[in-house]
């Protein structure tokens, strides 16, 4: 009788061997945080006395023009300044992962371990940041598109016209749900004329990161699965520079007092700490971030509401 693999599985062979490679399952890694001009960073709330900061706007910069006087000696009335403000409240977000000592010890060379889990915290924060961004953008006061109707090139044009009519300065950015982008592409196929969609090339992706889908009529298009849904529709949006802003809080050495044996690493805007729970033989990896975001000026954004 030959020696067959099937006969060896009891004592000599494995039913399934784990591959050495560790892959990341499909996830939307789009990140708007590092796209130049897409969102304004307004610094930290550190040492300021509050977790909420008020951004002040005033009608300067030529908002109030000179007026021609009726006569040479006309007494000119005072023109009051128009002011408004927007609040950004910085709040905490966090992610915790625990891994047991035995799980670490039995791992392969390329496996989940405290180091890898800690390094991944920034990606998770970026996902949170994007989700916050897409949710904030859904509060646009003016929308184009039609409920229950697929997104079309016409909707895209309407969005551009709306921003241009409001004299919104560029560059313009367009954020769409993948469903909206797919419908937009389908509509684009039926287009004629000189307008041309420039898809994201390898080089462009390298600069801007995942989520950048291409450029059409000078507007950069970003595709995000975090774009929210309202009324059975997706609420994408197009906006100009200066629409969004965010602030953070960054912990300093004072917070580390008494942290004992934990290892704290400040990664960008995220604080990652690794701590051993010796009584449980578990390593705790904790990521903390403090961030707040706001849609600063409604006039600079238009929602694109189309079928989900």
């Amino acid at each position: 009788m030959p020696i067959l693999h099937a006969n060896l599985e009891t004592d000599f062979r494995l039913a399934a061997q784990l591959d050495q490679a560790l892959f990341v399952s499909l996830t939307d890694m789009a990140s708007i945080r590092n796209v130049p001009g897409a969102i304004d960073f307004h610094g930290t709330v550190n040492n300021s006395g509050s977790d909420t900061h008020r951004l002040r706007y005033v009608s300067l910069g030529g908002a109030d023009h000179f007026v021609a006087t009726a006569a040479e000696d006309t007494d000119v009335a005072e023109t009051a300044l128009t002011d408004t403000s927007v609040d950004i409240a910085v709040t905490r977000s966090a992610l915790r992962r625990d891994i047991g000592d035995l799980a670490i010890a039995t791992g392969y060379g390329a496996d989940i371990d405290p180091q890898r889990l800690a390094a991944d915290m920034v990606a998770s924060y970026d996902g949170f940041f994007n989700e916050t961004f897409a949710t904030t953008g859904a509060t646009a006061a003016s929308d184009v598109g039609s409920t229950g109707v697929d997104m079309s090139v016409d909707d895209y044009h309407d969005a551009i016209y709306t921003l241009e009519l409001a004299s919104v300065p560029g560059p313009y950015f367009c954020v769409l749900h993948p469903r909206q982008f797919a419908d937009f592409q389908a509509s684009l196929r039926a287009e004629g004329g000189a307008a041309m969609f420039a898809p994201a090339t390898f080089d462009m992706l390298g600069i801007r990161g995942q989520g950048f889908a291409g450029t059409y009529l000078g507007v950069e298009i970003y595709k995000m699965s975090d774009v929210i849904q309202t009324g059975g529709d997706r609420e994408g949006f197009m906006y100009g520079a200066g629409t969004f802003g965010y602030k953070v809080a960054i912990v300093d050495q004072r917070s580390m007092l008494g942290s004992g044996a934990s290892l704290a690493v400040r990664m960008d805007e995220v604080l990652v700490e690794v701590n051993r729970d010796t009584s449980r033989a578990v390593v705790e990896i904790m990521g903390n971030a403090w961030m707040g975001m706001a849609l600063k000026e409604q006039a600079r954004i238009v929602g694109i509401v189309t079928d989900a």
Partner: protein, 249 residues
Amino acid sequence: MPHDFAAQPPAKAAPQKVTAVTLSDDRLPGKPQPKFIYAHHPGNWEFVSEETGFVPRISKVPLRPGINGCRKGPQGHLPVLSRLRMEGWVILNEDGPVKVSSPTGEIVDDHGYLLRYDGVRGATYADVWSRPFVVGAGPSARVDWSSQYDREGWNAWRVFLRESGAVPPPSPSVLAANMRRQERRSRRRIAEAHDGAPHVQAIVEHETAKFNAMREAAAAYGAKVRGRKPQAKSRVVRAAKGKRTNVDA
């Protein structure tokens, strides 16, 4: 109390019937959605159909700490709502009357639009018109929120908001801007329709018909597009066949 040996079960008790425990999890997969409130900005209206006319567009305002000045704590959302009111938004009460479709397809009255679902990763909030369906299982499971959405109920509610006065009537200026936008859409590809491409003809006809319907609906609010007259469908068809027309004039 003295120990009663007679009351103890025998060492080898007879097998007892038990109900098999089935592990089930009816919580929704995917990322949790934050609590929200619906609001309407007076400058945001849309024309859905001839039956509904112009209806208010409704925005979902997330009440999540860290967004638009929302703070942590039970009253943390108040600054968001007060700012919206200051900017002219109408906040729609989450406990107010709504219209939804019944299983038989009729529009019926109900109350409250906000629902809370238990999710694998925390509570998720949706409106009453959402009909979540879980597709797949395990790590690849996802929730389809949109394909079974009660659009009829959603639109009926928006009509109700307009007719009940819950939101102020649309300004003629806002409707005129909507119509100008629609007019641009109907005219943008008229030149290609001249070339006889059937799909472009269909688009132009659809957009033109919608524009004409919008004009009729807007007339009730005193809105009009300056210097334009409704285009008869036959003229658009003639345009599509390449004959001279003044549609684009």
